[in-house]
């Protein structure tokens, strides 16, 4: 049976010194035995420094011993050296293997639960999942996403649908809230009434009888289109009123702003405390006996401590409070801008066709700015019986 050919890998190299007479014969002998050398360098007249593949080293040593050459200073290089280094430290490969095994085992469990798009249900769904056992630490293959979706759909009827799936070590639950059904026109006789007050700009009646005309001032709840129609023989028929009633509407927002401001000024008196603080505990300090004070804090980590301990230097400086009157024009401008901003927020989505601001002084202490906006909208809504 032929011996197996050694596998020579270029990464696994050994360096050795060979000493003796006629070293060229030694090299030729290796060549005859089909043992390649990676490098040969003459060190002195009787020594060669050679590099060989690690798998050939035992054969080289045997040949050298048989023929009378001495092999010494055998040193592993490249990956052979690393392999030797690792053999001397068995804890490292064992740790790597253990880590890999741990990662493999732990990746079989769910470690996070993420809920997307739940809005106000977020906390409730999270608590429900926790109660039902869908929490961190549960095995991935024990999670039946379809059953979970059914469970959630059954519990939350107002949610349109749930999509549960496991991504990596995260249980993802996508929530799509339901949209309430719009009121559809029905054949039940009804009126159209004003959703808010305003001045009618135009009216288009598709069914029923108009109860107002352009230019009329209407109040909230007033009937705009009656659900009655007169037939050709003079009799009245009840119908579901339908139409568009465009009206100019107004909305006001008021902002009140004081004409004075409180200014604090440090008096020069101060108290300094020093205390130790950790994320869990803080050394209590007694506050300074001032009516009002500013607090300044300097933090310094305690050197040499592995635990996060911080030395805090707290300075409390006494301040005196003074009332200072503000310029009327500045207050007026700020109040007007604030009122307009609030109005725009309230009328978000509507096209404002006109707006203005009124000011009034309140007991000489504050200024009230009222911003009024005018816009056009369909104010008719179906009055359900």
């Amino acid at each position: 049976m032929r011996p197996l050919k050694p596998v020579r890998l270029g990464w696994f190299i050994h360096r050795f010194c060979v000493t003796g007479l006629n070293l060229e014969r030694f090299i030729n002998l290796l060549s005859k035995n089909s043992i390649p050398l990676v490098s040969i360098r003459r060190a002195d007249s009787r020594t060669l420094v050679c590099e060989c593949f690690s798998c050939d080293l035992p054969s080289i040593c045997t040949l050298a011993q048989e023929k009378g050459w001495r092999i010494h200073q055998s040193v592993p290089l490249r990956w052979s050296a690393r392999l030797k280094w690792l053999r001397q430290r068995p804890g490292i490969p064992a740790g790597v293997v253990l880590t890999l095994v741990a990662v493999m085992i732990l990746s079989g469990f769910v470690w996070r639960v993420e809920i997307h798009g739940a809005g106000s249900y977020q906390a409730d769904i999270s608590a429900f999942l926790e109660e039902s056992g869908y929490s961190a630490g549960r095995a991935r293959n024990s999670i039946d996403a379809e059953a979970l979706e059914q469970l959630l759909t059954h519990r939350y009827p107002k949610i349109a649908w749930f999509h549960a799936y496991v991504s990596g070590v995260t249980l993802m639950v996508d929530v799509t809230p339901g949209v309430s059904m719009p009121v559809l026109p029905s054949d039940i006789p009804c009126d159209i009434v004003a959703a808010r007050g305003g001045i009618v700009e135009s009216i288009q009646v598709y069914a029923g009888t108009a109860a107002v005309k352009p230019g009329d001032v209407v109040r909230k709840g007033q009937t705009l289109i009656r659900g009655i129609e007169r037939s050709f023989d003079g009799a009245t028929v009840d119908v579901a009123a339908e139409g568009v009633v465009n009206a100019r509407c107004w909305q006001s927002c008021t902002v009140q702003m004081p004409l004075y401001e409180i200014e604090s000024k440090e008096t020069g008196r101060q108290t300094v405390f020093t205390r130790l603080s950790t994320p869990m505990w803080q050394q209590p300090v007694q506050n300074a006996d001032y009516l009002a004070y500013n607090t300044y804090m300097e933090e310094m980590p305690v050197v040499g401590s592995f635990f996060p301990v911080i030395l805090q230097r707290i300075t409390q400086r006494e301040v005196s409070m003074q009332y200072t009157s503000r310029e009327m024009e500045t207050v007026r401008q700020e109040a007007g801008e604030a009122a307009l901003k609030r109005l725009k927020l309230r009328l978000f989505g509507y096209e404002i066709i006109d707006k203005w601001v009124d000011y009034c002084m309140i007991e000489g202490e504050s200024l009230a700015a009222t911003a009024t906006g005018e816009w056009l909208m369909d104010i008719g809504v179906v009055q359900t019986p």
């Binding site: 090299i27 060549s31 005859k32 390649p36 050398l37 040969i40 003459r42």
Partner: protein, 86 residues
């Protein structure tokens, strides 16, 4: 015989076992079809070949990738010459 080989376009060194040397600059010499090492020092490497001894002279010479088929000489190569056998 030689004429026939030339006509057939067959490399002569393959048929006769002549050494084939490729010198790259003055730093690297690749030798194929050698018959072993005769001498090896940092200043001189002598290889046995079918054409006689191939003498490589230079400074800081070292052998690399040595096996039965070929070898590579690294170092500062100054001279290549043949010395008759015997």
């Amino acid at each position: 015989m030689l004429d026939r080989l030339r006509q057939a376009d067959i490399p002569q060194e393959l048929v006769f076992g002549w050494p084939r040397s490729v010198l790259l600059g003055d730093e690297k010499l690749i030798v194929e079809q050698h018959q072993g090492i005769y001498a090896c020092t940092e200043q001189e490497i002598i290889l046995k070949t079918l054409c006689g001894h191939l003498v490589i002279t230079g400074e800081k010479l070292s052998l690399s990738r040595y096996d039965r088929d070929g070898l590579v000489v690294f170092g500062r190569i100054e001279k290549l010459s043949y010395r008759p056998k015997g």
